[in-house]
Point group: C2
Chain length 206, copies 2
DNA sequence: AGATTTACGGTACTGACCGTACCCTATTTG
DNA sequence: CAAATAGGGTACGGTCAGTACCGTAAATCT
């Protein structure tokens, strides 16, 4: 007479299926990511933690990396662009938020995933939109207000121009591997590159 | 009666030691890199190809990645910054060279190594100087000439400003995973970002 | 309700491959 | 010529990814 096993471990009372199981797997994977990082996330551990087995995982995701990226989505937090009243203040604050994120444990995971994705464009794109830091929209918001105030030139709305600051910051992490970027670097990016650039050819104030 | 084995394979006549052996290993590793890439470079294959065994490798490099980085050095080629007579021409040509490199098989390997290095700052730094694309020196050369011609402001000599174009290009590869960057992107980086930036606040010509 | 299909759970395995350990032998060094 | 050093051969331990079966619970159909 097989009583419901429901051991002390995570296994639920009844056999889970579909969305419920998928959810449990993703939760387990996200937990493994936060505790051990991607490098030490193994499919076996995820399966055990989710109270299931690898079959159920591979039936849903083709490999370890895609699972991890899917699980990372749960860890990603969305933030709002600041509105400090000045362009410089907005940009600096936005960069500082990004810096804090990249320096956080979650940021470390994101960097691992980026690295593991190697050149896989699709996965990278997926990560991009999840992490959201590459999004042009917040920059356009910030710049829109600045233009209205006369602090920036309309030409700055070009996406490549608008996002330059974040690109430079990300470069510090991805290419230099720094655990965190010193605040001086952020200030430098803002004062030496970003503000001169977005003020445009017709530079008004001091 | 052990005749010298010197099979058709790479094994030399006599037992190699020291620099000669090290050289053979690095050559073998470099060959493996170019043929199979880092992901498929295995220590066993390198050892076999070098006509030796893993002992000799591990006695010199602690792990697979450091061996690969050391071997990559042989693949890296050095190039000279162009001198076309105009700032725009120089910058565009320099970016195009970089684009070609990153798009080449060697560039793919470099990207793999970057990815594999993850956050290991030392290794990343080593790669940086080997690949040389992050070096500020060529940019300062280009800008120096441009300043003399009145095409750029002296403020552009700030390293973070001077290298912005390359940073943006590298971003295309490392973060977006593009196999190659369309020429329009390079032009855009030059015309929308770099030239406006280095011309400085006091923008002279059209 | 019972029959059928679907998807989980358990478990065992293959296959790769890194890194290490041992032991014998060629080369160099003194 | 002896002793020390470094290569070569080989065999493992250990870790994981990914796969293959097979029995069974849960959903779906009739």
């Amino acid at each position: 007479m097989p009583e419901r096993p429901m051991g002390s471990s995570g296994a639920g009372q009844t056999r889970r299926r579909g969305a419920a199981l998928e959810d449990a797997i993703l939760r387990a994977a996200a937990d493994e990511l936060t505790e051990a990082g991607f490098a030490r996330l193994t499919m076996d551990k995820v399966a055990i933690r989710a109270g299931t087995n690898k079959n159920a995982i591979y039936r849903r995701w083709p490999n370890r990396l895609t699972l991890a990226i899917a699980a990372y989505r749960r860890l990603a937090t969305t933030v709002q662009p600041p509105d400090t009243g000045s362009l410089r203040g907005d940009v600096l604050e936005w960069l500082r938020q990004a810096n804090r994120y990249w320096s956080s444990p979650q940021g470390a995971i994101l960097r691992e995933l980026f690295a593991a994705a190697g050149g896989a464009t699709e996965l990278l794109a997926q990560l991009q939109e999840q992490s959201g830091d590459a999004a042009a929209a917040p920059w356009l918001t910030i710049l829109g207000r600045a233009i209205a105030r006369g602090e920036a030139s309309p030409e700055a709305l070009h996406p490549r121009v608008a996002t330059v600051a974040m690109t430079l910051l990300r470069n510090e992490f991805v290419v230099r591997g720094a655990p965190t970027a010193p605040d001086e670097v952020l200030v430098e990016i803002v004062d030496e590159v970003y503000l001169p650039l977005v003020r445009g050819r017709s530079a008004p104030p001091a």
